[in-house]
């Protein structure tokens, strides 16, 4: 299983985010902030449109990590929410996650993550550690 190498680029995975997913995430996480569901409200507070929960983007990046070593392998995970993921009605917004192995120590593999919507980086300093 430990066939990771420092410097290795891990192939990207695509996730689709739409309004229905935001509602499902709100129900699963308990975060019912209307900026993630109500277009009128989102615009009233100065946003371009409804935006995804930063933690939904992070949860999907977490799935990317889990796919590398299993859900139970993730021991550390952090990210900055640098740009919002804007989710217009009736559109699937593509989130593309990729990774690069930056360190391996005692079976712990540190991976730097990149999260892109189009050419916009939506997570900053995103990294995770999986223990194999």
């Amino acid at each position: 299983m430990s066939n990771f190498q420092v410097g290795q680029e891990i192939p990207p995975k695509s996730f689709l985010i739409n309004r229905a997913l935001l509602v499902a995430y709100a129900d699963a996480s308990g975060d019912q902030n209307p900026i993630h569901q109500n277009e009128e409200f989102a615009k009233s507070v100065g946003l371009a449109d409804v935006i995804a929960h930063g933690m939904l983007t992070m949860a999907l990046a977490g799935k990317y990590l889990s796919d590398l070593g299993g859900s139970a392998s993730v021991t550390e995970f952090s990210a900055r929410f640098t740009k919002p993921v804007v989710v217009p009605a009736n559109i699937d917004v593509e989130l593309l996650i990729s990774g690069k192995v930056v360190e391996i120590e005692d079976g712990s593999v540190k991976i730097e993550l990149t999260a892109l919507c189009g050419d916009v980086k939506v997570l900053g300093m995103a990294k995770g550690v999986i223990k194999l």
Binding site: S29, M55, A59, V74, E76, A79, R80, F81
Partner: protein, 127 residues
């Protein structure tokens, strides 16, 4: 604005949260995770978000103006169904930057005396 004397204070929850298989499967379904033996890596936010808001409701922090800036997890072991988790939240720091208040909030989840997950949320309270 957060009262400055609260920095460094820890608020411990009185009630534990029982993690159900249903809660895990609901969270997993959103991200397309089929392994339901353990909770996904960021599942703990579904407990700490509500708990920390409850614990800090009298702190002076204006939750309606809060934007989530940064999040970190240290997972000692994965959360599983049947875990009974107690949340304790500590305000680690609070400072003003460009007119906004930046608060770092740490929330720990314990099962009995065992630390299961530590989380850090950086919250930007918009002026």
């Amino acid at each position: 604005m957060l009262s400055p004397d609260l920095v460094g204070r820890t608020f411990k929850g009185a009630d534990s949260t029982l993690v159900t298989a249903e809660a895990i499967s609901k969270f997993a379904a959103v991200i397309g995770e089929s392994n339901l033996d353990v909770a996904p890596p960021t599942f703990s936010i579904s407990i700490t978000l509500e708990q920390s808001q409850k614990l800090l409701q009298d702190s002076g922090l204006d939750w309606t103006r809060v934007v989530h800036g940064e999040q970190k997890f240290e997972i000692k072991r994965p959360i599983v169904a049947g875990d009974n988790l107690i949340c304790s939240s500590t305000i680690e720091s609070a400072r003003i930057m460009a007119g906004n208040e930046i608060v770092t909030l740490r929330s720990d989840l314990h099962a009995g005396t065992e630390l299961v997950v530590s989380t850090w949320s950086t919250l930007v309270v918009r002026a």
